[in-house]
Amino acid sequence: MNPNMVRMRIFLTGVGGQGTLTATTLLAKAALDAGFTVTAGEIHGMAQRGGVVESAVLLGGFLSPKVGFGEADLLLGFEPLETLRALPYLVQGGVVVSNTQAVPPLRVSLGQDTYPKQDVIEAKVGQWAARAVFVPCQDLGTRAGSAQSANMVLLGAAAGAGALPFGLDALEKAVSAYLKPALAGVNLAALRLGAEAAA
């Protein structure tokens, strides 16, 4: 797509430790290198201790480093509960690409609270989004060589689903250019497995 014709807000959400912010920065750098103007934003601090991590990538001339309710064209959910929690950020008719594999909150782990069922999450997302793609990111990450590469599986899925204004090649270039060389192989495999799963 012509970078001068695209204006897009992407909202990313996940749980501390999932590599959401690494993915956010990589996505932003890939977009910049593909010719788009980029503003991204994230909130650090207390949220990182097992808390929710929300970030945003805005393409095409936006200057605000955040996304409000009903503004995101694309929601990237690195964790299914967080996909559901962030759904109000999505514009009606927007696109959702989400992991299916849960990181249970502590109270859920301890049996004191209930995690929403996957089919409930998918139904609620389906009612609001024009299109939703769900991918088992940890499983595909493990197949790529490390469950830690689940974040790259999700980015690959977004590209494979055609939800990004650039192709998988732009992400592949960014992985090679900006991630540690020792991790490039696993992350490239993760991108491709994600893209295949979503295509």
Binding site: R7, V15, T25, A28, K29, L32, T37, V38, T39, A40, G41, E42, I43, H44, G45, M46, A47, R49, G50, G51, V52, G61, F62, L63, S64, P65, K66, G68, F69, G70, E71, L81, L84, R85, L87, P88, Y89, L90, V91, Q92, P104, P105, L106, R107, V108, S109, L110, G111, D113, T114, Y115, P116, K124, Q127, W128
Partner: protein, 616 residues
């Protein structure tokens, strides 16, 4: 490139975090001395200078607190070197005393204060508006809205301060510190820009007789700097519409995006973006305001610009109406594109737009911040609770351990600010019907706890202080403090020993334990609880994240349920470690999360250690 921020060439474009852009900007501005006390959202600035220390041509230090940081940087600037001091907004409260005087006595080398404010209280105890400090001290203020401006303004602030010998504030907000945007780089000067150190007591010693001369001179300097603001490229006007919008800080980004998306709205307004925000460029603003019926002022938090514009309008006999804080533009929290859009629509007599969005799903499980698995603070809180339960008031402080407020510990009944646990605890004990136990971390103790402890001894207060010494500054990203044994640059050869310090403060009842040894911790607390006066327990155990990252050390064991999971109900409730989970109704421990502290095994005999190797 090992350090792209240092090594990338002029003309290159990089995607930078706002805080990284400030670092590059300071380097381009020829900064020679950088000091700080870390604090979100400012911390990535000093952390980058720390990582690159040795590679760049500057001196860097983590100071023990913000007052010290500003005094060291101020002293360097008095001596002729360009200096930068960084801190979060509440840190400026700590540094306020030297700040006032530095603006009076002048700083020949140039001094920039980075004040990182936090509208919305993302990681702070308040959302105070530090633009007031620029007014209170009498210092110019620059407020970036993009990464490019963060870099350019950091450079400009250093050059302006060097040229005028007057301190300059670079004021950011969380969104600016933590945005990422493209930045085209400038040149880092090869040669240090410095002035020679001179003796000039009439200028640098604020005796009352001198201070009386300093004040009018300060006012004159600020008037001269106002002239620079009048023609600054950081202040610019766009649009041709009749309604004036005057915006500062990140509000400018929201305004620009609203106008980008709604050309119909855009043609009805003109936008004055104010980046060099103080002293106010009055002539440029009057030019913009004259002939307009209405101007809208967009600024987060306090109506500072709004009130200054009202004064300007009144002094010049204009009739322009000012729309500022009110129903549409709140005085608290952050602005958004939605807030700005509807404020503009209201002024234009258009109906407000309510953005359609999916209804938030009620009652979803929350993810509150929690102490990490293996956190030694958990062990300390457990032991204190085992001795005192609810029969004590808990005076807490600022750090990871403020999370002791959470159940099951409930070990925070009041907190004011950095270092307050000891002194506020001393005062609370005068009123309280139960003992007071205060908690303070090692970095916070060095920051401003020591003075409170000296005071408690001197005035005979009645307080049990637990110093949670985890050898790092955990909350803000593991920065070193005077008590650490090692940093990423190696051993700390000048370690300040807390036990020696506490004893030197005059405390006679002091004990040190590893809190993860539950029996020893409970025994020590029990003994101290039976006494009165100032008592100190040093609970020493390194933060496991710090130990893993810096010392590359980790425990060789993990905990597992060797006995009956049904017997683990109590430990689940009392220790509440995030590595615990229930699967098919049975208690279990996530071995990949467990750090092997083995606290739980001391509380519950169904849990045993197993070696990581054997577990494979």
């Amino acid at each position: 490139m090992a350090f792209p921020l240092l090594e990338a060439r002029a003309g290159e474009t990089m995607l930078l975090l706002g805080n990284e852009a400030i670092v590059r900007g300071a380097l381009e501005g020829g900064v020679a001395v950088v000091t700080c006390y870390p604090g979100t959202p400012s911390s990535e600035v000093p952390d980058a200078f720390f990582r690159m220390r040795g590679a760049g041509n500057y001196y860097f230090e983590y100071s023990v607190n913000e007052k010290v940081a500003l005094e060291v940087a101020g002293g360097a600037a008095l001596g002729g070197l360009p200096a930068l001091a960084t801190m979060k907004h509440v840190g400026v409260n700590v540094a306020a005393d030297p700040l006032m005087t530095l603006c009076q006595v002048t700083v020949p080398g140039g001094l920039v204060l980075l004040s990182a404010d936090d509208p919305g209280c993302h990681s702070s105890q308040n959302e105070q508006d530090n633009r007031y400090y620029a007014r209170l001290a009498g210092m110019p203020c620059l407020e970036p809205a993009t990464a490019q401006e963060a870099k350019d303004m950091a450079t400009f602030a250093l050059l302006l301060s060097h040229e005028t010998a007057h301190p300059v504030m670079l004021r950011t907000t969380t969104r600016v510190n933590h945005l990422r945007g493209q930045v085209t780089l400038g040149e880092i000067p090869a040669k240090l820009r410095r002035r020679g150190s001179v003796k000039n007591p009439r200028q640098f010693v604020p005796l009352p007789a001198h201070a009386r001369q300093h004040h009018p001179a300060l006012l004159d300097r600020m008037e001269a700097i106002r002239e620079k603001a009048e023609s600054s490229p950081f202040n610019r006007v766009s649009g041709l519409g009749p309604v004036g919008v005057i915006a500062t800080g990140i509000s400018r980004a929201y305004a620009r995006d609203v106008l980008l998306e709604d050309p119909g709205l855009a043609e009805k307004v003109s936008l004055f973006e104010l980046g060099f925000t103080y002293p106010l460029p009055e002539a440029a603003l009057l030019d913009f305001i004259k002939g307009r019926d209405t101007v809208v002022v967009l600024e987060e938090l306090e109506p500072i610009l709004e009130n200054e514009l009202r004064v300007l309008i009144q002094k010049n006999g204009l009739k322009t109406a000012v729309v500022g804080k009110g129903e549409c533009l709140p005085r608290h929290g952050e602005y958004t594109t939605a807030i700005v859009r509807n404020a503009l629509r209201q002024v234009l007599s258009l109906a407000p737009v309510s953005v359609r969005h999916a209804t938030p799903t009620p009652d979803l499980p929350q993810r509150p911040p929690n102490m990490c698995a293996g956190c030694p603070h958990r062990a300390s809180f457990l032991a204190v609770r085992q001795v005192f339960g609810d029969e004590a008031y808990y005076s807490s402080d600022i750090g990871c351990y403020t999370l002791g407020i959470l159940p099951p510990y409930r070990a925070a009944d009041f907190t004011l600010c950095m270092g307050s646990s000891i002194s506020a605890g001393s005062g609370f004990a005068l009123a309280a019907d139960k003992p007071v136990v205060a908690f303070i971390g090692d970095s916070t103790f060095f920051h401003s706890g020591i003075t409170g402890l000296v005071n408690a001894v001197f005035n005979g207060h009645n307080l049990l202080l637990v110093i949670l010494d985890n050898h790092t500054t955990g909350m803000t990203g593991h920065q070193p403090n005077p008590g650490v044994d090692a940093t990423i640059h190696g051993e700390n050869a000048t370690r300040v020993d807390i036990m020696t310090l506490v004893t030197a403060c005059g405390v006679t009842q002091v004990k040190k334990v590893n809190p993860v040894n539950n029996k020893a911790a409970v025994a020590a607390i029990t003994e101290l609880a039976a006494a009165s006066g100032v008592r100190v327990l040093i609970a020493e155990e390194p933060c496991p994240i710090h130990a893993r990252r810096v010392k590359k050390s980790a425990k060789a064991v993990t905990a597992h349920v060797a006995g009956d999971p049904a017997g683990c109900r109590d430990v689940m409730e009392t220790v509440a470690c995030p590595a615990f989970y229930i699967e098919n109704g049975r208690f279990a421990i996530n071995e990949s999360q467990c750090t092997g502290c083995m606290l739980c095994a001391q509380i519950c005999r169904e849990i045993k250690a197993k070696s990581k190797e054997a577990g494979k």
